[in-house]
């Protein structure tokens, strides 16, 4: 375990959403848990995926509290699928969603969906188990 490469997580605010306390808290928590965190602030799906590939991230986590989780979430996952990234990397989304949207977000391809009240520890555990399942990082050369 100790020799394993540090898990690299790319975090972003999805679109123009103004609320960043949650994602900043997660960024801090994941880096305290030993992960390498790159937080790029507000970005649209193409930029998020480009940076994820450049950085060779294992995990892409997006935060959305603006109500645009389904519209922007689906464009993110469609683009990820187009680029052949789904299956290689882990995709996470967190924010304020109606509970009935959790299933929809999973159907879009997100590996995990986090609602308000989720603890940082739960997110760490989820990432550990998802990355441990043999997914590779998004930098294909490295994969």
């Amino acid at each position: 375990m100790g020799e394993r490469r540090r898990i690299k997580v790319l975090l972003a605010k999805l679109g123009l959403d103004v609320h960043n306390r949650g994602v900043l808290t997660v960024a801090k928590g994941l880096s305290s848990a030993g992960m390498e965190v790159v937080y790029i602030g507000n970005a649209l799906p193409p930029e998020i995926l480009d940076v994820a590939i450049q950085e060779g991230a294992d995990v892409v986590g997006v935060s959305c509290l603006s109500g645009a989780h389904l519209t922007l979430g689906s464009s993110l996952m469609d683009l990820a699928r187009e680029k052949g990234l789904v299956g290689d990397g882990v995709f996470l989304i967190g924010g304020v969603f109606p509970p009935q949207d959790v299933g929809k977000l999973r159907d879009l391809g997100f590996d995990a969906v986090f609602l308000p009240g989720t603890t940082v520890e739960e997110i760490v555990r989820t990432i550990d188990s998802l990355v441990g399942k043999g997914t590779a990082s998004l930098n294909q050369e490295e994969g």
């Binding site: 123009l16 609320h19 900043l24 808290t25 801090k28 922007l72 509970p99 009240g117 940082v120």
Partner: protein, 586 residues
């Protein structure tokens, strides 16, 4: 900005401590109370309670102020009734800014409205007015708040969400269709100085085109640098110093041309909800107020004239007595700052007038109906603290924008407090409580200390530029999160009395469909039909005014008249001022 010779705290200390005090309790009485207390403490109070006499309540967004088990006159031995409390409507305004408070004027029930297209919002406004709302708070969608047009690639998938979309004055026209602009008070929740300059200009042009003189308009804008430069997550920021200048430009222009309009709402709410203690919330807002008045007095305005419509916006949350005491404390402190630091003489310029919104961060997804109870306590604290207007958050806000039913329930919460409980019949009913007065004193001093911290950093704008405030906030909310996760801050049904029940599929609000397409089509038509040469000219004039550091508002109004869009105007700001990169939070 130069570092001031003296901090506000030092100035107040110097000017107030020389005043003679007339304590309410005689030394003899206090001595007797002390003797009685000592005897009671050692013989009646149990050993465990003696050891843990002081307790620090841990609450969501709390401020870690220690509390004693019991408060007595000994907690505030030199209480001077007239100097510290006085009468409502009189200095030092601790008990309220109006003599008769809610007997004279009930708190305004101001619920947030705004979603989807301008037409959708117009309908919701009419619904709220029909059910007795006495003011309107218009919320804008994310692209409008961030100052992008609905057809900007950055806006894709977000148009009409969390608020209503506005691209040009034509959307204002639709939002306020059939609404008598001069008969109700309208709060334009424009958040930032930049979009206040843009959106309020559009509102003014709307009034002008309807033939309503600007002098008759009543309402408020938010216009707060804290929101634009500190709280907002965005990809582009103009430099704090320029943002702050626009804030002051807005005030100067509105004061001159729209005299009944409240030109700034110093916003503590969003800062606190972002993650600060209740003390920092107030210290930052007051520091902004102080620096704003310095700027405007240097432009030649007297404080008695320029400060008479300043308003504050606070978050009221869980720690009930702290919240009541906080509103009383900040009222007295603002009075002292105005009177002793700025030399105000007009009582209206000494008033800490405020709007309260109940705390959204204190609401949880688990068992959402519990939020109704939380918000009702928050609302009660706000009324006991003497707020001028109130918004009660809806129980489903931890899921989405409120449904019509939930929005109505929030309004009902206010109406029940106002009409059924009898609370509004007596002014400042908690005044004189040993506990509340001690807490009020303690909070006032803590706010003043944090203002001093900011002043030692070079002032409000400097504390944003340097990243000091960003780091302070981040440290607070990281700690808060840990306390919640460790269960030190208790939240019913979340980390105590947890229920196994799955999250209910509550009836949530769904955004209307097709808003983005319709809005893009409307914009396309606008861009084709307007006088584009005039658009170019007015934008160029605006850019030049920005560069000359001249008041930009007259130029913004010209742009609005020419049907410039919000995105075009913000782009002009960015070109003129350049972009700023905020410091990191960690």
């Amino acid at each position: 900005m130069s570092i001031r010779a003296k901090t506000t705290r030092e100035i107040l200390k110097e000017r107030i401590s020389s005043q003679q005090r007339r304590p309410l309790y005689s030394p003899e009485a206090l001595e007797e109370i002390q003797r009685g207390f000592d005897g009671w403490f050692s013989s009646v109070v149990g050993e465990r309670d003696r050891r843990s006499w002081i307790k620090v309540p841990l609450t969501v967004l709390g401020s870690d102020i220690p509390r004693e088990l019991l408060y007595t006159p000994l907690s505030n031995p030199d209480l001077d009734y007239l100097r510290d409390l006085g009468y409502s409507g009189s200095e030092p305004f601790t008990r309220g800014i109006h003599a008769n408070m809610y007997r004279g004027r009930k708190f305004t029930m101001r619920q947030l409205t705004g979603f989807g297209s301008p037409e959708d919002t117009n309908e919701r406004i009419k619904f709220m007015l029909k059910h007795g709302a006495t003011g309107l708070n218009i919320l804008f969608d994310i692209p409008t708040i961030q100052m992008y047009d609905s057809d900007d690639p950055m806006a894709a998938g977000q148009v009409g969400m969390s608020g209503v979309c506005v691209d040009s004055v034509e959307d204002m026209e639709l939002i306020f269709k059939d609404i008598p602009l001069d008969e109700i008070t309208i709060s334009i929740v424009s958040h930032y100085p930049s979009n206040t300059a843009i959106l309020f200009s559009m509102f003014l042009v709307l009034a002008e085109e309807r033939g309503i003189p600007w002098e008759r308009l009543r309402g408020s804008v938010q216009n707060d640098t804290t929101m634009e430069e500190l709280v907002r997550s965005g990809s582009e920021y103009i430099p704090p110093r320029d943002c702050f200048r626009i804030q002051c430009d807005n005030i100067e222009f509105i004061k001159t041309h729209v005299p009944r309009w409240n030109y700034i709402t110093l916003n503590g709410y969003n800062l606190r909800e972002f993650g600060t203690s209740s003390i920092t919330e107030m210290a930052v807002a007051l520091s902004n107020g102080i620096e704003t008045l310095e700027d405007l007095t240097s432009r030649g305005y007297g404080v008695d004239i320029i400060a008479d419509r300043l308003a504050f916006f606070w978050s009221v949350g869980n720690d009930f007595f702290e919240e009541v005491a906080r509103l009383r404390a900040v009222r007295r402190l603002w009075y002292k700052i105005m009177k002793y630091r700025f030399g105000a003489q007009n009582p209206r310029a000494m008033w800490m007038r405020c709007h309260v919104q109940t705390s959204g961060v204190s609401l949880f997804q688990q068992e959402p109906l519990n939020n109704i109870i939380r918000a009702a306590y928050h609302a009660l604290a706000a009324v006991l603290g003497g707020t001028q207007s109130l918004n009660v958050d809806s129980y489903d806000e931890a899921y989405s924008v409120p449904t019509e039913e939930a929005a109505l329930l929030s309004l009902r919460t206010q109406q029940i407090i106002q009409e059924e409980t009898g609370i509004t019949d007596v002014v400042d009913p908690l005044g004189g409580s040993f506990y509340v007065e001690a807490l009020t004193n303690g909070i006032e001093e803590r706010i003043l200390q944090e203002i001093e911290e900011i002043e030692k950093e070079g002032g409000y704008v400097a504390a944003i530029e340097s990243g000091m405030l960003h780091k302070k906030i981040a440290a607070y909310f990281a700690e808060q999160q840990k306390r919640l996760e460790r269960g030190e801050i208790k939240v019913v049904a979340y980390n105590v009395y947890k229920s196994d029940k799955k999250l209910p599929d509550i009836d949530v609000f769904r955004y209307p469909q097709g808003v983005e397409e319709r809005q893009r089509a409307r914009l396309e038509k606008l861009r084709l039909t307007r006088d584009n040469q005039r658009v170019e000219e007015t934008l160029t004039a605006l850019r030049d005014a920005c560069k000359r550091r001249e008041n930009i508002l007259p130029y913004c109004v010209e742009c609005a008249r020419a049907r410039c869009t919000e995105g075009e105007m913000f782009k002009t700001f960015k070109e003129a001022y350049g972009l700023w990169r905020p410091h990191g939070f960690w």
